[in-house]
Amino acid sequence: MAEPLPPTRSRIPGSGLAKGLAVTLRTMTRKTVTEQYPEIQPDLPPRTRGVIGLFEENCTVCMLCARECPDWCIYIDSHKETVPAATPGGRERSRNVLDRFAIDFSLCMYCGICIEVCPFDALFWSPEFEYAETDIRELTHERDKLREWMWTVPAPPALDPGAEEPKEIAAARKTAEKLAAAQAEPTEPAEPARPTEPEGGAS
């Protein structure tokens, strides 16, 4: 029949009121949580999805990012250029030249798929977020702006202790070791010259 009293219920009348007063007074003596944003920049975590930066030197116009984008907010124009043969008698090569790379941030939903699919590490997240515009059309940012944002991209977070060595570093280390071994053995002088040769000579 009788409902059990809540366990925190106190015998002294008014102790709940006093507890309420204590809570507010204690909060008053503590540090506030307000961030004074325009005066003091926020301390953002390193993987903040602020804006997408384009490292256009790495872009090969493979169009993967534009095709994978769920919002279709990446615009890429390019043309092909022929590169004359590197060695006499060799074959002419064609390569893609980027004409336009634009991201419409009024459509972008910051999913990061373009950054995930880029096989050449040309797209990066930057924590920069102060790019509000007064006109929605001005939110389409062109390649020079995207390239500028690359300077705000932070260094990648350090690997966990005991993590596997990254592929790039492993490859570089192997090459360096090979070079060192070759220099230690002066019988083969032709070997060290190989890596400086352009790729056209391999075929």
Binding site: L17, G20, L21, V23, T24, L25, T27, M28, R30, T32, V33, T34, Q36
Partner: protein, 322 residues
């Protein structure tokens, strides 16, 4: 000639206090409330920690259009803010802050009567606003104000009567002259009743049912804009000053303090008033609003019996010691 100068000077000082102290309380409320909620409060206006926030608010209010609703009782509607504000100015005249003739705007023999009667007039402003606005929310707010006034004026008067009985006089300086430190525990119940009833009379949270903004917009002040609205707000903060000053004078011994020279009595009065004003803000931040029935119940079943018991206690002690 010197008389005229004296009167002018006293009026001027009271007027300046009346205009500045409510602003100080308001700014303190901004900051204290913010920090009690883990915020910073105003930080921009005036440069240093937003000290000029209320000045900026005043400028904003002055720029706004003064709208009178088409269906409103025009003259009454426009008069209401003045009726709400002026009584507190008059009460301020009668509150002594230090011993002697020089530290009070006007010495009144029937000080308590004057002060309590005039304070009751202040609530009339809200009533007038509620009736004259031609708005159902305003009307509801006005009627709630009336109900609250009826409920809380009684314990307030009884508590004040207890002090008057103890001192054997109704003059405010007279009460303070008769004060001894042991009045503090003797009259403590009356002090609490007086303070709580005063809070309710000012419609301060947690007794802000008449202006409960989540249900009746802003009660009697719903239709007000611009300077008239600002006057209502100023009346609320002036009311805090008056209530805290009166509680100090009646129950906390005014200019009497444990130490300090004769010339520093006014510091004690101001200090006690400031502490009470902080308490008003503190209570506002801490407690949620009382429902209308809880509000009435608190007054009739708790405060009125308590104040009657206080009067009985005062009478018994008075007879025993005399």
């Amino acid at each position: 000639m010197t008389d005229a100068l004296d009167v002018t000077l006293r009026l001027l000082i009271v007027f300046v206090v009346f205009l500045t102290f409510p602003l100080i309380v308001g700014q303190t409320e901004h900051k204290v409330m913010a920090h009690m909620q883990g915020r910073l409060g105003p930080m921009y206006a005036g440069g240093f920690h937003g000290w000029a926030q209320l000045v900026a608010d005043g400028v904003k209010f002055a720029q706004k259009e003064d709208v009178v609703p088409a269906g409103a009782d025009r003259r009454i509607f426009q008069l209401a803010p003045a009726v709400a504000l002026l009584p507190y100015l008059l009460v301020l005249l009668a509150i002594p802050i230090g011993p002697g003739e020089g530290a009070v705007g006007q010495v009144l023999d029937a000080g308590i009567f004057f002060v309590l009667a005039v304070m009751g007039v202040g609530v009339l402003g809200s009533l007038m606003a509620g009736w004259a606005s031609a708005n159902k929310f305003s009307l509801l707010g006005g009627l709630r104000t009336a109900a609250q006034l009826l409920a809380y004026e009684l314990p307030m008067l009884l508590a004040a009567a207890s002090v008057a009985m103890a001192a054997g006089t109704v003059s405010l300086p007279g009460i303070l002259n008769a004060f001894h430190w042991w009045w503090l525990p003797w009259q403590i119940v009356g002090a609490i009743v007086f303070f709580v009833a005063g809070l309710a009379e000012l419609q301060r949270p947690p007794f802000d049912m008449p202006v409960a903004d989540s249900e009746i917009i802003f009660g009697a002040y719903t239709e007000y804009t611009g300077l008239r609205f600002a006057l209502f707000l100023l009346a609320e903060y002036a009311g805090i000053i008056v209530l805290c000053g009166l509680t100090t004078v009646l129950f906390l011994g005014g200019w009497h303090g444990p130490w300090g020279a004769d010339g520093l009595g006014w510091v004690w009065t101001l200090l006690k008033t400031a502490v009470l004003a902080f308490l008003v803000i503190w209570l506002r931040v801490t407690y949620p609003r009382l429902r209308e029935d809880q509000l009435q119940k608190l007054s009739w079943t708790l405060l009125v019996p308590l104040s009657l018991a206080q009067i009985a206690l005062t009478g018994i002690v008075k007879v025993v010691i005399s």
